[in-house]
């Protein structure tokens, strides 16, 4: 993203009728919805943990994380497994079905107003023909600030 001359390969997913992208390099796999075990006393957007081929993986509902309502799971719902440093987390999204190359030049910094989203999570916006792709800053999405806040309230 910093390097504007380089193309960026991203996984495209839908959330509330908008299109988002995360770099392919961060994505481990895309899974269908499996039974999720609720973990008590965690943030509301933490749906729980899932058995991902023998690894217990935490699952976050991105809609709830972005405060745009709760996901309703259907056939198209997917869980994107992303990894960041030593964390591995699954993100619940409405659908994920595309991998595209974004030419470096088309990425713009996040605009001041993008719908109702908190701009913290957005690292940039890519305009591709008639599509608008919101690129996520995973570090912000997975930052544990909110988790910590929750702990301090309890503790």
């Amino acid at each position: 993203m910093e390097d504007h001359t380089q193309d960026l390969k991203v996984i495209v997913f839908q959330l509330n009728n908008e299109e988002y992208g995360v770099p392919v390099s961060r994505v481990g796999s895309i899974e269908r919805v499996q039974p999720i075990t609720r973990v008590p006393r965690t943030a509301s957007f933490v749906k729980g943990v899932m058995n991902l081929r023998g690894v217990v993986t935490p699952i976050i509902d991105l809609r709830e994380r972005f405060n745009i309502g709760e996901s309703t799971y259907d056939d198209r719902t997917r869980i994107i497994i992303v990894h960041l440093e030593d964390m591995e987390v699954g993100l619940v999204v409405d659908a994920a079905n595309d991998v595209i190359d974004i030419p470096g030049g088309t990425i713009e910094p996040p605009p001041e107003v993008v719908g109702t989203l908190d701009a913290d999570y957005i690292s940039g916006v890519a305009k591709l023909e008639r599509r608008l792709l919101i690129l996520l800053d995973l570090e912000e999405v997975l930052s544990d600030q909110e988790l910590k806040q929750l702990q301090s309230v309890e503790g």
């Binding site: 933490v46 993986t57 702990q151």
Partner: protein, 697 residues
């Protein structure tokens, strides 16, 4: 670099040798007269020197060499063993350890050891250790050279007797000529390997050129060795030829008469500068002279043969070194297997197909055996941790001016490696604690009518699925009243409650965090520095710690640890639609009680359980479980405990007991309240494991 492949082995073995030196030095301090111990130290140091020279770690080799010189003087009774001398040697060992540590972390093993080397050299020259230790600059002693000569002459007399003895004991003497192949790359290493082989089957009495020269690769392709052994020629030859890059081996028997008749020659050969006389010319000298020199060398290690023999028997078990990472991978794979086994068991019960059930049962049994083998492979004797304590206790006792006798029992008890890695620090803490605050000064011990020397006992043993480690001292014990007073002042307990507490409950307070600030401790008979940390560490390992103490008789800290951390037995319970696992280790029993039998005390639900009042904890409330259905008239309760405290977890139904693989929730979800981890059940779903300690206040 071609050395790199030996590096790992070198580091491992160096550590082992240093540990031997450490242990033996401590033994020596207790029995300063026992020269077999010195020989043992000498042997370890010598091997270390050889290895480090071969590996080109000159500093390491030099320091070991200096240490060896001093040990040599001790061995020949030229200097007396006392604690000042041992302090200097310990310093040297510390430096050696630091060097090996440096090499292990990728350094060159270089270190400024001038001071220690200086001290060793001055001792070698005949100065009193105490003097050397106390004063940094000392004038050099002149006695050195004269004493050396007389010591050589003394040796001669010794030689004959020892040689006679070895002959009587049935040792045969062989002169072995070993030729290396012309293209041999690592002559020093090969020599070392040959010596290793020889030392296994007998005793190397002498070599030409000298060992030093051999190690420095200061020879052509041939060298000779005089070996005392009970093995026959062919056997020896075969063993030596197993070392690669050996061209030929010639073995010649040397008879007893030979060296009896050459005793006179031997006294000639043992000139004041003994090492210089054994140069390369010896390589081609006559048998007689060869044996003569051998005789002298032999005497330097008069008692070695016996100890070596006994050690051989111990060292016979065959082992291989396996990288711990590989074992971890094996363990992970096996965990997957355990999960699938659970799944298979479930499917076969559902299908009710007898042949399938039979096969699955068989598989379960085999995988059960496999599980215990794999777990066993990861077991390490606690010795690894205990090893460092004798040194520590010695040093601490000296610093504190106390006399302490450390007894270690059950060092061979095995624990999972993960537990071993964690348990060291808490034990150090407890031992320091016992030395500092438990055992009294010699004066006050005498005043109390106890022996001057305090006893500290470190004991490890297996019991059931647990390993116990106990640290007991015969010191002053814990003052119950003082602890109670402190607890009341800190608001941990009220005056009324205080009188009803058992001793154990009172002593538990010294491990609560309120007690851990320094100035409070000295009031409470001193105990408590960081004991809360100790307690936390042990509990995080799934263990527990209890304290027992009798005033003026001493205290015992008893640590209970699980054998392994990765596979645990749990009881699966259902709370509404959710499944949770409760570790079996914290469960006392399960009960089903009628709704009417539940009483209320202080706005809390309690039950009367075998005479004691047990508070109830509703998992539904604690875990905010969504309500799907109403509870009936009966409550299912799991009674758990934490130390002496109990609580009843209210659940909806018991599913059963199961062995599960403990998994973490991942780094994203850390410190979830009352959840210690997760496990994957037979149906592939994740169940959370309850941290019952968090549910009891």
């Amino acid at each position: 670099m071609e050395m790199s492949q030996y590096l790992e082995v070198f580091i491992e073995e160096s550590k082992e040798h240093l540990q031997t030196v450490n242990d033996s030095l401590l033994k020596l301090e207790k029995n300063p007269e026992d020269l077999t111990i010195v020989s043992e130290i000498f042997r370890a140091a010598h091997t270390l020197k050889g290895m480090s020279a071969t590996m080109n770690y000159q500093d390491l080799a030099n320091l070991t060499h200096k240490m060896e010189n001093v040990l040599d003087l001790i061995r020949n009774s030229k200097i007396q063993v006392d604690s000042d001398l041992l302090d200097i040697i310990f310093d040297a060992v510390d430096d050696l350890e630091a060097m090996v540590g440096d090499i292990a972390t990728g350094g060159q093993g270089e270190r400024d050891v001038q001071q220690v080397v200086g001290k060793l050299e001055r001792i070698e020259e005949g100065e009193l250790p105490a003097k050397v230790q106390d004063e940094q600059v000392e004038m050099e002693s002149k006695e050195a050279s004269t004493s050396e000569i007389s010591y050589e002459l003394n040796l001669d007399e010794f030689q004959r007797t020892v040689l006679m003895e070895s002959a009587e004991q049935g040792f045969t003497n062989y002169e072995i000529t070993v030729s290396l192949t012309k293209d041999c790359m690592l002559k020093g290493a090969r020599v070392y390997m040959v010596f290793e082989v020889l030392e296994q089957i007998g005793e190397v009495a002498q070599s030409a050129p000298t060992v030093d020269q051999l190690e420095e690769e200061n020879f052509d392709l041939q060298f000779k060795v005089l070996l005392l052994s009970t093995h026959d020629e062919e056997d020896i030859q075969a063993r030596i030829l197993k070392v690669s890059e050996i061209d030929s081996v010639h073995i010649k028997k040397v008879t007893v008469e030979d060296y009896v008749s050459t005793t006179e020659t031997s006294s000639l050969a043992t000139s004041p500068h003994k090492d210089d006389s054994k140069d390369e010319s010896n390589q081609h000298s006559s048998d007689k002279e060869q044996t003569a020199v051998a005789v002298k060398e032999k005497t330097e290690t008069p008692e070695e043969s016996k100890t070596q023999e006994s050690q051989q028997k111990v060292a016979q078990s065959k082992t291989i070194r396996v990288n711990i990472d590989r074992l971890d991978v094996l363990m992970n794979l096996f965990e997957e297997l355990v999960i699938d086994r659970g799944r298979l068991e479930q499917i076969s019960t559902d299908l009710n197909h007898s042949e399938l059930q039979e096969t699955v049962e068989r598989m379960s049994r085999i995988s059960g055996d496999l599980q215990s083998i794999i777990l066993n492979m990861r077991m390490v004797p606690v010795e690894q941790v205990f090893n460092r304590f004798p040194r520590m206790v010695r040093q601490l006792a000296r610093d504190l001016n106390k006399k302490v006798n450390l007894v270690v029992e059950g060092a061979e008890t095995e624990l999972d490696r993960t537990v071993i890695d964690e348990i060291g620090d808490p034990l150090v803490h407890l031992i320091r604690n016992s030395l500092d605050h438990g055992i009294e000064t010699p004066e006050s011990r005498l005043a109390k009518g106890k022996p001057e020397e305090g006893n500290l006992k470190l004991q490890a043993y297996h019991s059931g699925n647990h390993v116990f480690i106990e640290i007991s001292d015969d010191g002053g014990g814990i003052n119950r009243d003082k602890v109670l007073q402190k607890a009341i002042n800190n608001g941990l307990v009220t005056n009324e409650q205080a009188s009803g507490l058992s001793n154990q409950q009172v002593f538990d307070y010294i491990m609560s965090s309120g007690f851990s600030t320094a100035d409070q401790i000295s009031d409470v008979s001193g105990r408590g520095v960081g004991l809360d940390v100790v307690k936390n560490t042990i509990e995080s390992l799934g263990g527990s710690i209890t304290i027992d103490s009798v005033p003026d008789k001493g205290s015992t800290f008893s640590i209970q640890l699980p054998l392994t951390l990765s596979i645990i037995s749990v009881m699966l319970v259902e709370v509404q639609q959710e499944k949770y696992a409760v570790p079996l280790s914290s469960i006392i029993e399960t009960a089903i009680v009628k709704k009417e039998d539940i009483m209320h005390a202080h706005n809390k639900q309690v039950i009367d359980f075998r005479g004691s009042v047990v508070p109830l904890v509703s998992l539904e409330d604690v875990f905010e479980v969504p309500q799907e259905f109403d509870k009936g008239d009966y409550y299912s309760i799991v009674i758990i405990r934490k130390g002496d405290k109990m609580a009843g977890l209210v659940v909806d139904s018991f599913i059963g007991q199961q062995e599960v693989v403990l998994k973490s929730l991942g780094n994203y979800l850390q410190n979830v309240f009352a959840i210690s981890g997760a496990t994957i059940l037979g149906d592939g779903q994740v169940a959370l494991i309850i941290d019952s300690n968090a549910l009891i206040k």
